[in-house]
Symmetry: C2
Subunit: 356 residues, 2 copies
């Protein structure tokens, strides 16, 4: 599957929704369709519109972006539609982006994938919404994506091992996350956007949260979920570490969550139904979130393993499996990422899941 | 100035633009109007619309947000308009947000501040754009904002000193930024979104960029710009550190940039014109970016100190001043943040500016 094939498939979704032009500005879709890694860490760019892809039948795909957001070596089948974003002159980038988008869209009906895309469609009929359809289109990964996911998962493995060591060294929550992040960035060779839960003790019962200056006390568990974006592709991972001697209830819960993860890995295969895997994994545990979800150009993709989900798994899907158990005094979650193979699945994660 | 005053002032801008309802979803405006600190580090939320404030005359201000984005202790004069974002059920948060927004807006003309706000306005006449007007409204800081800015600047001061030490310890670019970040987060007691340039040697001639695994060699300069968001308010700072013995050209450039910063600080006062300060600071130097800019709920606010800018400085403005010099072999920038006082300015930054 090449970028051109992906662009074609995405356009088909727009046409099926009754539109003539597809406008994508969700960073995940922009990455999937063009390879561009969109900067996200400091929030919406005040000087420019979010980079967007515009696709219509018989026309070159356009990548609408401020000059500073377009790398020189972008190796994609797109025609750049660049404008001045940041400058010492008047800051008119966002208005200019809207004008350029209007020039491409003309009077045609547009399909959009996000708020940022919707904002580029300033005239004409109400745009069609293809956000969910694009999530489904991205669900089965090609070899290029799988390679990128393997790299991202390898980065999370390094982060998990470093976090485990930092906990053993007596770090507080902030120090543990900082150590894990530094190790992951050293491995990747660059800064990484990072979704993370790093909470210990009773606070982890709320399923997650950001690190504080709390230094885990003996008997507490440290829940560590690391989801870095590596070259535009997200990894995901979770482990839970005991400090000192964990209480018997935590030990027992850990055994049950680990067994649940093993049940899930055993059950994932082409033809399996997402809701059924959710049910057999969740059995005997207590968590109110999903059992799993896809990852790739976004950190939350299809398939969703949730109660009642009727999605049938297909070869090439990549799924983060994360059963958990939350009690009044602790939170415990374990997460590995698997790839659906021809007759089962391959565990892509190598980080350890032991409590101690 | 209270939040209610800010909301009233913002509504006036919308009314002046011919609208009846103001819809703000820029994280900076949402923070300024309600105190809500919007999560930004992992990009657009796939489960919910960006938190938005809706204000109309004679009605309570509404804060439209997913339940998980609304803290329990939000102490603001707003009425929450909450919906389910993330769940194990169907993911319909963004659609639900649009419905709720439509219910408030009704058939009235809206004024918007961002792409995210524009996307919430799904019917009726073309919305008015008040983004630039709101930037101006935020330019003069009240005492509460000033206090928040002082805290953010104090965090940058810690980061700059730690970065200087990490360079002296022989760290590579990634290690230097990781050390600075960890020190800033330890000071703040929580994770911080971070805008940063951390580049050394010839690569710094391009004005900035992210850290790499490059270990600065003797004679190279390390350009370190740290802009963390602390409790919703941005700090900013820049220093440049020599490794070993800097070349004579770098030493001379450092002297000129430092003098330029001193000239700027000397000139900032109520009544001074932004473009004039830009000109007297830039004299004899070579940089193609602004001389300075406001900071606050966003990392780039009014006033902009750029060539020709006719903005008159007022007491209470807070300005990051950052003259620079870029040569083929190095980049050098120094940045302190000042507050415009009744008769001059107060330097809020304490980090050292020495090259060595």
């Amino acid at each position: 599957v090449s970028r051109a094939d992906r662009q074609g498939a995405a356009l088909e979704l727009a046409l099926a929704a009754g539109a003539e032009v597809l406008v994508c500005a969700d960073p995940a879709n922009v990455h999937w369709l063009t390879g561009l890694v969109v900067e996200i860490e400091t929030g919406p760019n005040p000087f420019a519109a979010a980079p967007a892809v515009l696709i219509a039948a018989g026309e070159p795909a356009r990548l609408l972006a401020a000059e500073e957001d377009l790398p020189e070596d972008l190796e994609v089948r797109v025609e750049p539609l660049a404008y001045t974003g940041f400058s010492t002159g008047p800051l008119s980038g966002i208005g200019r982006a809207r004008e350029l988008a209007a020039g491409v869209i003309g009077g045609r009906r547009a399909a959009v994938d996000s708020a940022a895309a919707r904002a580029l469609v300033t005239a004409g009929t109400k745009p069609a919404d293809v956000a969910a359809a694009l999530v489904e289109a991205r669900a089965v990964k090609d070899s290029e994506e799988l390679e990128a996911i393997r790299k991202a998962i390898a980065v999370t493995d390094v982060g998990q091992e470093r976090a485990r060591a930092a906990v053993a060294e007596g770090g507080d929550e902030l120090e543990v996350l900082a150590a894990a992040r530094a190790a992951m960035e050293a491995t990747a060779g660059e800064r990484l956007p990072l979704g993370a839960d790093l909470v210990s003790g009773p606070r982890a019962a709320a399923m997650g949260g950001g690190p504080s200056a709390h230094r885990p006390a003996p008997g507490e568990l440290v829940l560590c979920d690391l989801a870095p974006r590596v070259a535009g592709t997200w990894g995901d991972s979770c482990a839970t570490f005991a400090v000192g001697d964990p209480p018997a209830a935590a030990r027992a819960a850990h055994g049950r969550v680990r067994e649940a993860l093993e049940r899930a890995i055993e059950a994932v295969r082409p033809g399996a139904v997402a809701g059924a895997i959710d049910a057999l994994t969740r059995d005997g545990l207590d968590y109110s979130h999903h059992t799993g979800h896809g990852i790739g150009s976004s950190f939350y993709e299809s398939p969703r393993l949730v109660p009642g989900a009727d999605t049938t798994l297909r070869e090439g899907m990549v799924i983060a499996l994360e059963p958990a158990y939350y009690d009044a005094g602790f939170g415990l979650r374990l997460e590995h990422v698997v790839r659906v193979t021809a007759d089962g699945c391959e565990d892509l994660s190598t980080h350890r899941l032991e409590l101690e």
